[in-house]
């Protein structure tokens, strides 16, 4: 069947801001789908509120709306654009839910818009547990006994009938948010309340628990002709009970016989045929490890995180093919790189996916894994045996370990470790390795962890190899042949040089030298989806070690000029999809400039690891060893390290010292910006002020410096991204506490102590070519200093910054760019105090989080321009090309007083439209976490809002970021004493808008004194939980809670209130600045009443 000709314009809905459970994989899927539709000649209209994505780039779709992903806004887009059809299955659960709402509300019918792909009834059947159960029962597929409940009482009855243990799954939530296991009535009460409140339809499923079963997933595809195929299957290392997004996953399955594999394959295909899915679909099974009994757990009739992983693991582009199927093409009519799309990939390698958790930053969140996803990102690695694959994944995670070994378990005794692995802790795999290292029996470990013995035995191969290497070193054998063989074997198991060195008593460089002398090098194998059955050249490679006498390297090194771009690794708090945006743009630009562009990265969710983006993709850990192996093979003309966030920038120095040509900002310039001493010298030379501060290397020194500077001070470890462990400290007692507990201060890890200046934060992104600087825009942050810039709302253009201050900022930025020696992108954060004095907070000599936002707001593709600059172009040359189509760009000359040359900083006319960036948080996924905004970054994503007035733009940004904006209801207020005066006019504004005000006793009295009628709520510390009950009851629209930042003390009340609010999905504000913005917006949209 040929593609449909009755449609010409297709609306694609993206997934919005990144939250846990819905991350960059939908940028990858969406980008692929849009390009795939364009390739077929359709006009693509895209709706996505996430500015950090590639898919919202003008290259990807024809018309782009970065409007909030709500029914109201999408309906407006549809009425305005009148698309012929809508593609729902690409934007994750958000996109799917929206499409379903549009259908139900009749918008699609009203506007004559066809739903492409799987029809709405099928989606409903797959998503509605009850209907899905009916469907499975009708085709004889086993599902777990379960009951849908809408009240706690029904839930308790159901659990009794099914029998404990049971699992609670809320309907229509992302990443299984709000679900969990319960062994008894007590537990179910707590979990079910939460689940019901989080489900948009207040429904949850009580289901038999099959904890301990194997969890197996199949990625399947079906077309309109009923051809159905499997792309691949995946086995979760963690058994059922851990969300697949949080589990270590291998692809393909390792412990299934042909019979089990095909039993489940048949089942998956039968289900998608019964559902009449058109496109990609994910089916999850629980398989009894002791029999053939299985249950269908879940079906996702859309592309998903698993489908992104499956695409990268198999080389089969699921989203691309799904998009083509949705316009009527059949699997046998769609051509892939080397086969037809109706072929099932055959893998000749093992893929290992490991999740990246935020517990390093969210130390108060529980790290026990369950049915609610907690990981912010993931890495994938590829090897020819399981240990190799897993060790590469461990190296890719960037969690401070370089091998399957964590220091923290060294001291634990065996019993503690066994106990630890019984629960699914995020890092239990390292505890398992430790137990094996101590010779603990495999069966003890499988018994405790319920992880299949296959995997434990494979991990044992790793710990056995460590022992062998150690014993070799201990006996000091000089037999060269044996050592060569030993190292070769260790390399085949995926050992890095560093750990081999540890075991042998050598350092990394000595191991490397030995390897070079004895020709132990990796070879690169291709991911060709067909196990090399068909002749093809797919430029997608992974490394492995093969026998030297027959080592076939498949990566063909061309004689073209080439540039390697280092990616940004797994998504974590502070380093998100924004860095992938810059990486991909750089690659496009490099290719345009005629170079061969090579990417090294390990994140399966991203666009950059789609092998069609670059000329060559190496899917490898971003460590010196793994990167150097590629560099030695490719011998590139340059390596770009300034676009892949801190991951890549950290590699710049070591690579440069090995003689690698780093293009763009060099390692000396990086050091000038990141090293405290040299940065201070630079500022002194340029006469640019910064808050007074010092780096300290001991507790005593820290206390002394803080006293000298005067409290409050801002403290943080050096060399971190996203403000990890950054705090404002108000007095010496807290300072000592911080230095003792929050960071381990020593010679190698200095802690920075700065004067805390209260003021407005301003941020710029710029490009410097060594001669001139271009700054496309200045952004003003809503929240004052003290809230991490990544968690702040940000405006472009600025709203309250005077022209004089702007000129100062431009001047400082220009001179800093030149003075630091930037070649390419850089980012500077400033503080403007109440006297309009401008201070530098920091210079980031690399691409930043705000580059995509600012690029989209200003219309200047910063990453492209910066890449051209790195390749040798100049700012003036670049601007000459632009001036004709974008406004006026005015240069201000800079007096650097050094070389006598004329330098300038260029700044274009500011936009007349307002652009606002708002952070999106994932607090409700992380039980126990305190949602207070602080200098430590907590947001997982961001959304954009733009309009002709600032308040409308803010309204859109807030809505798009997931804030529930309601213009009536109750505001619950608990304030720190120091904030009361400032908060008063704000609360009054709520009061005037017609809100009820509730407050804890101190706050309430203060408000009453000032004429605001307030209902008093008792504090928890007074022995009452009425405040929590109010929040739970559902009538509270906003919780406003501030804590005394100067004291640094966490009031238990505050913590409990904030937890209750996040767990019950009540909008909460911890910064009065955000409240002010909210009120500005609410006043714009609300008509209030007043006496005559």
């Amino acid at each position: 069947m040929p593609k449909r000709t009755d449609i010409k314009r297709i609306l694609v809905i993206g997934s919005g801001p990144i939250v846990i459970g819905q991350a960059a994989e939908f940028d990858y899927a969406g980008t692929q789908a849009c390009l795939s539709l364009k390739e077929e000649g359709y006009e693509v209209i895209l709706c996505n509120s996430n500015p950090a994505t590639i898919m919202t780039d003008k290259h990807i779709a024809d018309r782009i709306y970065m409007e909030p992903l709500t029914l109201e806004f999408i309906a407006k887009v549809i009425r305005k654009e009148r698309p012929d059809a809508i593609l729902p299955g690409i934007g994750g659960q958000t996109g799917l839910n929206l499409a379903m709402q549009l259908e139900r509300k009749g918008v699609l019918k009203e506007c004559g818009v066809k739903l492409l792909g799987t029809d709405s009834d099928s989606i409903d059947k797959a998503e509605d547990r009850e209907r899905f159960k009916e469907l499975c029962e009708s085709i004889g597929e086993p599902v777990l006994p379960s009951v849908v409940v809408e009240t706690l009482e029904d839930g308790l009855k159901a659990a009794e009938a099914i029998g404990y243990p049971i699992v609670v799954r809320p309907a229509f939530t992302l990443g299984g948010t709000g679900g969990g296991f319960a062994d008894n009535e007590e537990e179910i009460k707590y979990i079910l309340n939460n689940a019901l409140s989080l489900s948009p339809i207040h429904q949850a499923l009580i289901e038999k628990s099959v904890k301990g079963y194997k969890e197996i997933e199949y990625e399947v595809m079906r077309d309109c002709n009923d051809t159905a195929i499997t792309i691949c299957n995946m086995e979760n290392l963690d058994p059922v009970g851990v969300h697949t997004g949080d589990s270590i996953v291998v692809c393909p399955s390792q412990t299934l016989t042909n019979r089990e594999y095909h039993m489940l394959r048949d089942s998956a295909l039968k289900i998608i045929r019964a559902l009449k899915v058109e496109g990609g679909c994910n089916v999850q099974f629980a398989l009894n490890p002791e029999s053939f009994d299985y249950y269908v757990i879940e079906v996702n009739p859309r592309v998903s995180r698993s489908s992104a992983l499956a695409s990268k693991a198999s080389g089969y582009p699921i989203a691309r093919v799904s998009a083509k199927i949705s316009v009527g093409l059949r699997l046998d009519e769609i051509e892939l790189a080397n086969t037809l799309a109706c072929f099932e990939p055959s893998l000749d390698y093992v893929v290992c996916k490991m999740p990246r958790f935020p517990f390093d930053k969210f130390t108060d969140a529980s790290n026990v894994l369950g049915t609610q996803m907690k990981a912010t990102g993931e890495v994938m690695s590829i090897g020819r045996c399981f240990p190799e694959s897993m060790l590469k994944a461990v190296r890719s995670l960037e969690i401070g370990v370089y091998h399957l070994h964590m220091d923290r378990f060294d001291e634990c005794d065996d019993d503690n470790l066994i106990e630890y692995i019984e629960e699914s802790h995020d890092d239990r795999i390292y505890a398992i390795a430790e137990l094996l290292r101590r010779g603990r029996d495999v069966s003890d470990i499988t018994g405790a962890s319920k992880i299949d013995a296959f995997f434990i035995n494979e991990i044992k191969r790793i710990t056995d190899m460590e022992k062998i290497l150690r014993s070799y070193a201990a006996e000091d054998r000089a037999d060269i042949y044996e050592l060569t063989e030993l190292i070769y074997r260790a390399k085949r198991l995926g050992f890095g040089d560093r750990v081999i060195g540890d075991c042998l008593g050598m350092n990394r460089d000595e191991v490397l030298k030995y390897r070079k002398e004895h020709s132990i090098f990796p070879v690169y194998k291709m991911i060709d989806s067909c196990a090399s059955e068909f002749d093809s050249y797919i430029p997608y490679f992974y490394s492995t070690y093969e026998s030297p006498e027959c080592a076939y390297n498949e990566s063909v090194v061309t004689d073209r000029h080439k540039i390697i771009v280092l990616g940004s690794g797994p998504i974590r708090i502070g380093q998100g999809v924004e860095f992938d945006y810059s990486t991909v743009h750089a690659v496009w630009t490099i290719r345009e400039a005629g170079y061969e562009a090579i990417i090294i990265n390990n994140n399966p969710e991203t666009v950059s690891t789609d092998y069609t983006i670059s000329d060559k993709l190496y899917f490898e850990p971003l460590t010196i060893e793994d990167v150097m192996n590629i560099i030695e093979l490719e011998k590139p003309d340059g390596v770009i390290a300034s676009l892949g966030g801190q991951t890549a920038i950290n590699l710049a120095g070591p690579l440069a010292s090995l003689g690698v040509p780093i293009i763009g900002t060099d390692s000396e310039a990086i050091d000038r910006a990141e090293n405290r001493d040299s940065f201070e010298k630079l500022l002194l030379k340029l006469d640019i002020p910064q808050p007074v501060g010092e780096a300290v290397t001991s507790i005593e020194e820290g206390m002394r410096v803080a006293d000298k500077i005067g409290y409050p001070v801002l403290v943080r470890p050096s060399f971190v991204l996203g403000g990890r462990a950054m705090q404002i400290v108000g007095k010496s007692k807290d300072m000592e506490h911080y230095l003792r507990t929050a960071v381990k201060v020593d010679e190698d890890k200095p802690v920075l102590v700065d004067k805390y200046i209260r003021g407005k934060e301003v941020e710029i992104d710029g490009i410097c070519d060594g001669k001139d600087v271009f700054i496309p825009g200045i952004m003003e942050l809503v929240e004052r200093t003290g809230v991490h810039s990544g968690d702040s709302m940000s405006m472009y253009p600025t709203a309250s910054i005077s022209d004089e201050v702007k000129e100062t900022i431009l001047n400082y930025a220009g001179r800093l760019g030149l003075g630091t020696g930037i070649r390419g992108l850089f980012n500077i954060q400033f503080i403007v105090d109440s006297e309009e004095r401008v201070y530098i907070i920091e210079v980031n000599p690399r691409s930043s989080r705000t580059v995509p936002f600012l690029s989209k707001a200003t219309g200047y593709d910063m990453a492209d321009m910066a890449t051209r600059v790195m390749l040798g172009s100049g700012i003036r040359e670049e601007l000459d090309k632009l001036v004709c189509d974008v406004g006026l760009i005015i240069g201000r000359s800079l007096d650097t007083g050094e070389d006598g040359e004329v330098h300038a900083v260029y700044y274009p006319t500011e936009s007349e439209r307002w652009y606002v960036k708002a952070p999106a948080f994932s607090f409700s996924k992380l039980m126990g976490m305190d949602a207070y905004l602080s200098p430590e970054m907590k947001s997982t994503g961001e959304a954009i809002g733009y309009d002709d007035t600032l308040h409308r733009a803010m309204y859109k940004a807030l809505i798009a970021s997931g804030v529930k904006l309601s213009n009536y209801g109750t505001v619950m207020v608990t304030l720190a004493d120091e904030d009361k005066e400032e908060a008063l006019p704000l609360i009054r504004r709520f009061y005037n808008l017609g809100f009820n005000i509730e407050a804890t006793i101190g706050t309430a009295e203060y408000l009453k004194e000032h004429g605001i009628r307030t209902r008093v709520r008792h504090k928890l510390s007074e022995g009452s939980d009425e405040i929590l009950r109010s929040i739970r009851a559902g009538y509270v629209s906003y919780v406003i809670n501030t804590r005394a930042i100067m004291s640094g003390v966490h009031y238990e009340d505050g913590v409990a209130i904030r937890r209750e609010a996040t767990q019950n999905n009540v909008t909460m504000f911890t910064s009065l600045d955000t409240v002010r913005v909210l009120l500005d917006v609410l006043e714009e949209v609300t008509i209030s009443v007043d006496k005559l």
Binding site: S253, T257, H262, L269, F292, C385, F454, D464, E482, F534
Partner: protein
């Protein structure tokens, strides 16, 4: 394996146990490469031995299935072949009692990247190499199976030798050049004599290649009420299966549909077969070149038109030859479980299990009474033919699966339909 035995006495002697394990491990790892694979084109791949020590010149082929090594080693069609598994991890789930495709595995050798000797699966009754040792199948692991596969792909399947590592290359090459691959494999794997498989074996020990809507594994008994045929009723059709090296799952698939099966050796004359009063004749898969079994082709030639016939793989080639078509050897064959095949008439696509070196020549079919019913979507080779008026049809791929996808069970139903129709016609029901 001192350590393993000890470890079962949990907890006790912990220190001794650890120590012994250490020694054990170290000794094991000092084992240097001890075997090599030599190709007739001169390449040498050094690796580690597993399985038996037999040294034989074998045809080297590759298989892209990611699961099903037990079915593969016991599939008689692999007789005298050294099979490179492109999937690198082999042995993970061991060997069990149920998944054999023949009583005595006759594969030549197995070549893998990683061999796992500590199987994990609830049915595992032993390790892969224990069975390979028992049946004299040699193995080599630790070699670059992807490199070997690429050699096979570019040069075609070729002769190979697995031997001890120190055997001089020149000596290996002499052996390789001198030896001729055998052509009598079918005679070695066929049934020794006529035997009846008229039992209805318990289903939890076998695959059931059912309708597209079959339920597995929970409700076989329902499916098999009335012996599983969709027309209902107990038919007890009698199938004579010509055994050229028949896979067990073909037998299971026929039995599960209520057939009585009489298995006959490949060279059983037509007269003898007809004397068994079959409702239909099945021609099985088997090793090698179909033109090496002219007796069988002759038999089918005289049977065609008199009784419904169904052929699989070698059986498909034999049927085609019997109708006058020609066969040829593919460069490196199809072995795996992922090729899409299109049923031309129904316009449907099934993913198939494949294992063949030879194929039926598309052009040569034009001059016969056969029509092409199935085609491979990847290389356009002939995957199925039929002569409808004779109620004869065959497919190149393996609808019985084991290993591989189970999309094509409908072909067994079609065979049964044909036999029912023929019986009804004979009995005058539709005459």
């Amino acid at each position: 394996m001192y350590a393993v035995t000890l470890s079962q006495g949990k907890g006790k002697n912990m220190s001794i146990q650890t120590e012994n394990k250490m020694n054990n491990v170290i000794n094991a790892t000092n084992m240097a490469k001890n075997r090599k694979l030599v190709l007739e084109s001169g390449e040498v791949f050094n690796g580690y031995g597993f399985g038996a020590n037999t040294e034989k010149v074998l045809e080297l082929v590759f298989n892209t299935s990611m699961v099903g090594y037990q079915e593969i080693i016991s599939d008689p069609s692999y007789t005298d072949q050294a099979v490179v598994m492109t999937y690198p991890l082999i042995g993970n789930y061991g060997i069990n009692e149920d998944d054999y495709e023949s009583q005595s595995p006759s594969i030549g050798a197995l070549i893998v990247r990683e061999y796992n000797d500590t199987p994990s699966n609830f049915r595992a009754s032993g390790s892969l190499q224990s069975i390979m040792k028992k049946y004299g199948i040699s193995g080599i692991y630790g070699v670059d199976t992807r490199a070997i596969t690429r050699i096979i792909r570019s040069r075609g399947s070729l002769k190979s030798l697995i031997t001890f590592i120190d055997k001089p290359l020149s000596e290996c090459m002499v052996i390789l050049n001198r030896s001729v691959l055998p052509t009598d494999a079918v005679s070695r794997v066929t049934a020794a004599s006529i035997w009846k498989a008229d039992i209805f074996a318990p289903m939890d020990n076998m695959y059931y290649m059912g309708h597209a809507d079959h339920t597995y594994p929970s409700s076989h008994s329902d499916q098999l009420g009335g012996y599983g045929h969709k027309s209902g009723g107990v038919h007890r059709l009698h199938v004579v299966a010509i055994d050229c090296g028949m896979k067990q799952n073909i037998l299971r698939s026929l039995l599960a549909r209520g057939c009585r099966v009489t298995v006959v050796p490949y060279d059983t004359p037509a007269k003898v077969i007809m004397s068994l009063k079959p409702d239909g004749v099945f021609i099985s898969n088997g090793p090698g070149d179909p033109t090496d079994v002219p007796q069988c082709i002759d038999t089918v030639r005289s049977l065609k038109g008199t009784v419904p016939i169904f052929g699989i793989c070698l059986g498909h080639q034999i049927l085609s030859l019997a109708y006058g078509a020609k066969t040829y050897k593919l460069k490196f064959g199809h072995r795996g479980g992922n090729h899409p095949v299109k049923d031309i008439e129904a316009d449907t696509i099934e993913i198939t299990s494949q294992n063949h070196s030879y194929a039926v020549d598309r052009e040569s079919i034009k001059d016969t009474r056969l029509k092409i019913t199935h085609v491979n979507l990847l290389d356009d080779t002939v995957e199925g033919v039929a002569c409808e008026e004779d109620m004869a049809f065959s497919v190149q791929y393996h609808p019985e699966s084991a290993p591989g996808p189970q999309d094509s069970g409908y072909l067994f139903d079609k065979f049964i339909d044909n036999m029912m129709n023929a019986r009804n016609r004979k009995e005058g029901i539709y005459a």
